[in-house]
Amino acid sequence: MKARRVKAIAKKELIQVWRDPRSLMIALLMPLMQMALLGYGVNLDIKHIPVCAFDREASQQSQALLKRFQASNYFRVVEAVGSYQVLKDALDYGRCKLGVVIPPDFSERLVDLEAAPVQVVLDATDDNTASIGLGYAQEVVSGYSGDIQLVSWQRQGTLAQNPPAVVQSRVWFNEDLNSRNFVIPGVVAMVLALVGAQLTSLTISREWERGTMEVLISTPVTRMEVMTGKILPYFAIGLVDATLCLTIAVYWFEVPFRGALATLFLTTSLFLIVVLGVGYLISVAIHSQVGASQIALVVTLMPTMLLSGFAFPIDQMPWPIQAVTYLVHSRYYVTILKAVFLKGSGLVALATPISLLALYAAAIAFLAARAFRKTLD
């Protein structure tokens, strides 16, 4: 492999990316846009649930309970209603998602140490919110008094019995239960996976489409030189993008970073090799730029979104699907990122996912090197 030829190809590639508005947009704008969209758009927290209050007693105690609902971050009392009918209407029309009904003999029952039932009416069409809402309501109420029983009544929909496990497992390392801390590392992985594949997916197909490939293969340049020369500039761009995204994650979204930069750098580099390799393979297989770009999108977007552990935990998935996730490259990186960010894990702790990722990288590199042939047929 001659360094001079690799350098020539890398330089040409870089000039082309720089001067081609489409590539530049993918390289620089797309990561920013996606970080913004996904970072702000994906929010698994349930906060400020609108509540309607039907206080049938209107005593000091009942008002004190309602004030607790208001004071809690989870709820926002939006309306005080005077009848069940109005409450039903409010739920039906979506003015609130949850109704709290305090019985007319509330304080009496409390004083007599009997159970004081407080009715909670739920709109369970949004099953997730409803069950979580119920859980929060329980918290608020128990905080007020251990004697209050929550009697729940479903207005619409069916209530699932299990609240999502996410609520339980988060508490250890993400104390404020801020879903953002959980999601953003996944977003970074997603952005890199998408952008990386898009960039390289165009590189070979563009040359075929424009006719420059036919000349290139008639020169003494070798397959390895072509591959290395073409991937190098995108690797550099990928690192720039990764740095950009991670910086945004830490300084803008304020995701705590507890790990070591070196670990981050190493694992990100490995992941980039995989992602760029995937794009390159697609580019070799598909000679049309539009086609390659589309396939790259489909092959990276869906698996990363659904199967990498980015938003939906893998251990909650059915067993066969879990097996499939081993093929999803972003899965390893998401695991590593979350661990490095939130747990501060080092290389030793992450030995398994890192070596699997490295194996993946080696496999892709091998396939990519062999895939590109210097013939027209």
Binding site: A8, R19, T212, E214, V215, I217, S218, P220
Partner: protein, 313 residues
């Protein structure tokens, strides 16, 4: 082919088949060192296929190709060191400038900067492209793109230059520049193999290979090939060309009378013998304003007669 210039390209029984049918079969020919060899024929005759096989960018189904002693099929990469291939659509890197394109190819062939600069300057001056060195390739005219492609192909000194329809659609001035550069290469001993569907461009080649439906019909110098044409050619120019054609069509010794624009190309068995009769027939038909003179046959005439008039196609 003279004994003093041994063949640099030797092709034997070359075959390549395609699903659609436009392949080549049983091709045998040799190109001598330093000559300009033209592959002439219509679309689908196999010109581009031969070029691609010679350039090592496609593998044949049978036969052998040797360029300067190197077996192109077994060892294409060695062959590519001394061959430059310019395909029909020479894709230049449109976002790169003229200079950047040249530099790229120079690097691929590991040419040092001084030689590259000297050679580039010379070629660009010959093409009249010196003022455009900093311009992006995408913004050049068609003729200039082809000249740039040629410059990139020649930035290293190949032994063999393969050109696939290099001047298709190019303006005549650029085409002249192009050919001037090609002729200059002969001084350097470069052998040029060129495919063209411009029958008049074929006249510029040293030797021609006439291709038709995947086979080579004949292979010789243009003048030798023209001697193969049966009969002699005359041209009659007249405002009443059609009437003239009708008058001459059935005459004895007139093999064909073909209308071409404002003249009639007459194929006779013996010009000296028939001139008088022709003049007589024209006068009899009332065609006064006329000019009858001998016509040097063109490659097109040659092709037509070899393939047969109104033949199957």
């Amino acid at each position: 082919m003279t004994a003093s210039s041994p063949a640099i390209i030797v092709v034997q029984d070359l075959a390549k088949r395609f699903a659609g049918g436009f392949g080549i079969d049983g091709m045998n020919f040799e190109c001598a060192r330093g000559e300009i060899f033209g592959f002439v024929g219509p679309d689908g005759a196999g010109k581009t296929t031969i070029m691609r096989l010679l350039g090592g960018v496609m593998t044949p189904d049978g036969g052998s190709i040797r360029i300067d002693g190197v077996d192109v099929i077994a060892d294409p990469e060695t062959a590519k060191l001394h061959v430059s291939y310019m395909p029909q659509r020479f894709g230049l890197y449109e976002d790169l400038t003229v200079d950047e394109n040249i530099e790229f190819f120079a690097d691929l062939f590991e040419i040092d900067a001084t030689s590259r600069e000297e050679r580039a300057a010379r070629l660009l001056t010959a093409s009249g492209m010196t003022p455009f060195r900093k311009r992006r390739a995408g913004r050049l005219s068609g003729g200039m793109k082809q000249k740039l492609g040629l410059t990139c192909s020649l930035i290293h000194t190949p032994k063999v230059l393969l050109l696939d329809e290099p001047t298709a659609g190019v303006d005549p001035v650029s085409r002249r520049d192009f050919w001037r550069i090609l002729y200059g290469l002969r001084e350097e001993g470069v052998t040029i193999a060129l495919a063209t569907s411009y029958l008049d461009e074929a006249e510029r080649c040293t030797r021609l290979g006439l291709l038709h439906e995947g086979r080579m019909l004949h292979c010789d110098t243009p003048s030798a090939l023209k001697k193969l044409m049966p009969g002699e050619l005359m041209s009659l120019t007249s405002p009443q060309a059609r009437a003239a054609r009708d008058a001459l069509a059935g005459l004895a010794g007139v093999r064909a009378a073909l209308l071409v624009g404002d003249s009639v190309h007459i194929v006779v068995d013996d010009a000296k013998l028939r001139t008088g009769e022709i003049e007589h027939a024209l006068a009899a038909a009332g065609i006064v304003d006329r000019r009858l003179e001998p016509l040097a046959p063109s490659i097109e005439d040659l092709f037509s007669s070899l393939l047969g008039q109104g033949g199957a196609s």
